[in-house]
């Protein structure tokens, strides 16, 4: 069946395209500005194409930020790894091994998701100092793991809630216990859950600023701190576009099912 072009279709697509353009404007501005030579940059001509292409700002930014990118990568990968693994185990217990009080405990966990980071800032660096973790990446990783736990536990709990209980029971009858059910049944089934959670965590940690600036010494600064616009956004943007559909699913798992 061929779609007829009606007035409403035209209005519909016009609205869609206009909105898309509005959303792309900031990106356009960023890209052309970053291609301009410093002398070329001025407010009244901010929308115009650069007179000459100047790619040096990319190279400069990259050279300047290389250590920060490395830090951010180490930080993000480690923190994402630990928080998703722990979150997956927690979610497994909360979804499949409920015990008296587990729901209250879970609710108390969730609460941690919503605290403004400012509230814990001062005690956090005192504690990290006492643990001799202040200033370096391990301390920052610990912080991100801990404050990532509520959301990862939530996503995994909701994910595991969809796995039928009969699968667990069947495995119990087959002779599997707590850990063997996890490693042999639950874990192999949670790859999508891991993708979703890691993406969420990756984005959050990569973009985080306040702790990055307050909890690390210079040599351990993540990228947001050693920021230059387009460079900080690119890796996430890329990963995001590639794995977009998982991303959306993850957002949903984390927020809707509750």
């Amino acid at each position: 069946m061929k779609r007829k072009i009606t007035l409403s279709t035209i209005v519909f697509y016009a609205a869609l395209i206009l909105l898309a353009m509005a959303y792309l404007l900031p990106a356009y501005l960023t890209v052309i500005t970053s291609l301009k030579a410093p002398v070329d940059i001025s407010l009244p001509r901010s929308w115009e194409f650069p007179s000459t292409l100047n790619l040096s700002s990319f190279g400069d930014a990259f050279d300047l930020l290389r250590p920060n990118i490395v830090n951010s990568l180490i930080l993000t990968v480690c923190a994402t790894f630990f928080s998703t693994v722990l979150g997956s185990l927690n979610g497994y217990v909360f979804a499949k091994w409920r015990f008296p009080g587990s729901e209250i405990l879970f609710t108390l966990f969730l609460f941690g998701m919503f605290i403004p980071y400012q509230v814990v800032l001062i005690p956090l660096f005192h504690t990290l100092r006492a643990m001799h973790l202040y200033g370096g990446l391990p301390g920052l990783i610990l912080a991100h793991v801990v404050y990532g736990l509520p959301i990862t536990s939530l996503i995994f709990r909701n994910f595991y809630a969809q796995i039928p209980d009969s699968l667990m029971e069947s495995a119990t009858l087959d002779g599997a216990g707590f850990f063997s059910i996890y490693t042999r049944i639950i874990f192999p089934l949670s790859i999508p859950g891991f993708v979703v959670t890691s993406l969420w965590q990756f984005t959050q940690i990569w973009n985080e600023f306040l702790w990055g600036i307050c909890l690390t010494r210079h040599s351990a600064n993540p990228i947001t701190v050693g920021l230059a616009n387009i460079m900080a956004a690119l890796p996430v943007l890329l990963i995001y576009i590639l794995l977009g559909r998982y991303f959306i699913r993850g957002l949903l798992a984390g927020s809707v099912k509750e």
Partner: protein, 362 residues
């Protein structure tokens, strides 16, 4: 090889009693079907036997061993779930091998047992497939295969056929029966489908509100239900249940249903003028040539409401005076609404119940 014995088994979830003190002895190699309406506790009983639910009070014994405190995996039972509970990330082979692997059996042994079970269930060509690539009936068979490989002493089935379409269900039902004949393992089967119960069971256990109503062979529960509930639950189309009054006694006993008065065999359990519920099975009503075998004073003139032909037999809804009933009749009955037909009741198979207690009067 095991008998299963439940004594005074109860289950409570918080304040709600789901199973109320059940006593049941299941013989070795027997095929027992638990039926009852949803929420009657039949699945809970099954899951307690499997060990998936704890027992609130009472005792369950498998073989001669009390198993209340035994972990599910050590009870030597296998279970087929309603949704099959196949591990989606494992192939058919791995699914069937999983319990053996958990029991640390040798690789060769596992291979042998899985191949054997696959042979029996005609699953050999599919061993490398994932469950998602199988049809409903094949998945069902894998679930059974997973149970078979362990050669358990008890098979547990939790509504295993309810996810299949009608045709496949009939076919799988027969395969199940044949399998039982071949394996000869004690089997406990939960369903709400009474045809499955009638066709599969050695004995049927009918449950309601967590209590056993009747235990008996299919024929027993059909022909001699102990109460109104069992009579109504077993049989399709359901039994015609009418309020009636008994008059007279001995050979002159009469049954009055509305304006219809019929002589019935002597009812020692009834007295003159007693109000009863009269149950007449739809297949205890005859028509045409089969009327010949019936007493003539059981013949009536009925008015057709609707006739449905179901292939080899027919259902006829009719009225006699001010009462209406359904009959299940041999052959194809072609009758127009309003048409008058001659019917006969086989009142030897009449069932009488006390209207208050619902218990059978006999």
């Amino acid at each position: 090889m095991a008998q299963v014995e439940l004594s005074k088994v109860s289950k409570q979830f918080g304040a709600t009693k789901v199973v109320r003190g059940i006593d049941l002895k299941i013989e070795d190699n027997e095929f027992i079907v638990l039926v009852g309406p949803s929420g009657c506790g039949k699945s809970t009983v099954l899951r307690m036997i499997a060990g998936l639910e704890s027992v609130s009070s009472g005792e369950i014994r498998i073989g001669d061993r009390p198993v209340n405190q035994v972990a599910p995996k050590d009870r030597n039972v296998a279970m087929v779930f309603q949704n099959y509970a196949l591990y989606p990330h494992m192939s058919v082979y791995e699914n069937m091998a999983f319990s053996l692997k958990m029991a640390k059996e040798s690789r060769d042994e596992i291979e042998r047992k899985v191949r054997e079970a696959a042979e029996i269930l005609e699953l050999t060509p599919y061993l490398d497939r994932k469950p998602a690539a199988l049809s409903g009936g094949q998945r069902q068979r894998v679930a059974m295969g997973r149970a078979i490989v362990r050669s358990p002493s008890v098979f547990l089935f939790d509504e295993p056929l309810s996810n299949l379409d009608a045709q496949l269900r009939t076919q799988m039902r027969m395969e199940l029966k044949k399998l039982h004949l071949k394996m000869n393992t004690t089997t406990i089967y939960v369903t709400h489908d009474q045809i499955e119960a009638m066709t599969l069971a050695d004995r049927i256990v009918i449950l309601k509100d967590g209590e056993i109503q009747q235990v008996g062979t299919p024929i027993e529960v059909f022909e001699r239900p102990v109460n109104r509930f069992v009579a109504g639950f077993i049989g399709n189309p359901p039994i015609n249940m009418l309020s009636a009054t008994i008059s007279g006694a001995g050979p002159g006993t009469m049954l009055a249903m509305g304006s219809l008065h019929l002589p019935i065999p002597p009812q020692p359990a009834c007295h003159d003028g007693q109000r009863v519920l009269a149950g007449i099975r739809p297949d205890a009503i005859e028509i045409g040539s089969r009327l010949v075998g019936l007493r003539t004073d059981w013949h009536v003139q009925a008015e057709v409401v609707l006739a449905e032909i179901l292939g080899g037999h027919s259902l006829l809804e009719f009225t006699v005076g001010d009462i209406s009933m359904i009959a299940e009749l041999e052959g194809r009955i072609i009758a127009r609404p309003g048409e008058k037909v001659a019917l006969g009741f086989d009142l030897d198979r009449l069932l009488l119940f006390d209207p208050q207690s619902g218990l059978a009067l006999r």
